[in-house]
Subunit: 347 residues, 2 copies
Amino acid sequence: MRLSILLFVFSITFFSCDSPKKKEKVREPNSFAIVIHGGAGGGIKRDNISEERQEIYKQKLEEAINAGYAILEKGGNSQDAIQAAITVMEDSPLFNAGKGSVYNSEGNQEMDAAIMNGKTLNSGAIAGVNHIKNPILAARIVMDSSKHVMLSGKGAVILAEKYGIELVDSTYFYDERRINQLKRIQGKEKTQLDHTAYNPEFDLQDHKYGTVGAVATDKDGNITAGTSTGGMTNKKYGRIGDVPVIGAGTYANNATCGISATGTGEYFIRTVASHEVSSLIQYKNQTPKEALHHVLFNQIEPLGGEGGMILIDKYGDVYWDFNSSGMFRAYKKSNGDAKTEMFEITE
Amino acid sequence: MRLSILLFVFSITFFSCDSPKKKEKVREPNSFAIVIHGGAGGGIKRDNISEERQEIYKQKLEEAINAGYAILEKGGNSQDAIQAAITVMEDSPLFNAGKGSVYNSEGNQEMDAAIMNGKTLNSGAIAGVNHIKNPILAARIVMDSSKHVMLSGKGAVILAEKYGIELVDSTYFYDERRINQLKRIQGKEKTQLDHTAYNPEFDLQDHKYGTVGAVATDKDGNITAGTSTGGMTNKKYGRIGDVPVIGAGTYANNATCGISATGTGEYFIRTVASHEVSSLIQYKNQTPKEALHHVLFNQIEPLGGEGGMILIDKYGDVYWDFNSSGMFRAYKKSNGDAKTEMFEITE
């Protein structure tokens, strides 16, 4: 009798073996959130940025996050919210996007941008454009008003103009600091790849951070991700980085999450980084935190890459991670949580 | 006593519940294989292609597969093999790549191509180029001789020229059939999107197949994937499709598989199609057959997309699937298996 009881207990234990108790997680109804980044890179260190300059960056990040949050708060959708946040950063010379775009090897600027709608998986991306004051707006036009997903060069500019997107002369983007950056790099004959060690010669701006991005989830639970960049100083003419490559620098899927990335773009393309994070969440049951860490530290870093990602998941929670020394970032949630940071992760 | 035996049996059954016996699969040492496609689409039907014309396509596909196989057979690597197969198809006016590229809305041709090395995850892609006789060779230069992964337009041509890739005048690509195709489409004011129904007005060439691709695995088990295309007839100037977007139309990773896709590119970008197949294999333990079917029929088709994918997995096995009526395709394996087909899957 004792034997049969033991065996019965033994069998009951195994009967429940396939049904591990999972914590049931739910999204807070009508909640919303937005997270942004202004670039990740080795130059973002306390030694490199004076407190005065830190304050300038902080104020601009807060202006951007508030612009996006205000739209969500009024019941607006996540596409409009990320667009509002990104255009604030594009209009500032502080970041490597729009006005502050770096110069390529020809002494010109070529901007890329992308936006993705997590509900429909519809996307819009532009690559290698100039003359468009706010590249994210042109990406949105490609998504909303074109049968295509990705347009480059003059073709993108023609479409943007057709839809009334503001065009400017190239001189709008002129920035003496960026020109000097180009000259310094060309003097050293390399693109900004090895900048992990502190080099007092380099102005903060020389380091390959830059690229701006935003991810938002609105009251309907729809996630949108967007990214915008001037690329890399002294990049080869025509170089396209990860930003407009859906699944690399920009990705959104209501089933999993929305992501915007920043860093050494080539590595984010080769690892299909943002879609890889989404796949780890969806198919390997990793948490966003685990997935971000795995892709940045176990996939991108071993190849030699550096950067960061911001993410909002289907529950409306915000995550970020980076393997560089810093990343300009901020988030704001409807539950009152908010943060603006640039150096090491403190939580 | 009978009760305890029953319970013992019961418990043994459950004891084995977590350990389903998995068939241990291994790669045949020193085996190699190559698979190619010449495009998928609704026009590839017996009603549309005379037997004479079928024979012409068959011979060209066999010429391409043999060119790649010959390299593998001599112990060559998979990068050289797929390049050999693809250049044969690029040099033929039969396919929408290289010489046979379709015209965009401006009456010009813009070609895209990509190659990815499954061992290193290194990649090379070019987008929106003309004047390059064999776009796949330029993609290879970007991968092997550039710090970048993706170059567009003039920048790509400049790099190709620097590395001795053959440039030709645009007239090299002139093809009367393709010009007529453009005129017909423009007359109807739409890109080739709705062509699933048989339309006797349309020449076979009007249908949106085309794009060529190849995946190979060599004796060292290294997988390479490559794709090359002229895009879509009447596509908007500057439109970039899935071919040069790593993770969409082209992907290779020795850990899972190599893939080349063909079809309505926008849908392959939005679903990050080839990386999605790889993720389903890697993280959801699906077979390549299940993964291909899921992405084509349960993800791309519901969105309105159409096309196909060819795949070689880490065991050296060949797979293909498509949700269009046909796909030009062929494979050849070191174990003697070989096949050249274009219509419905027969196995």
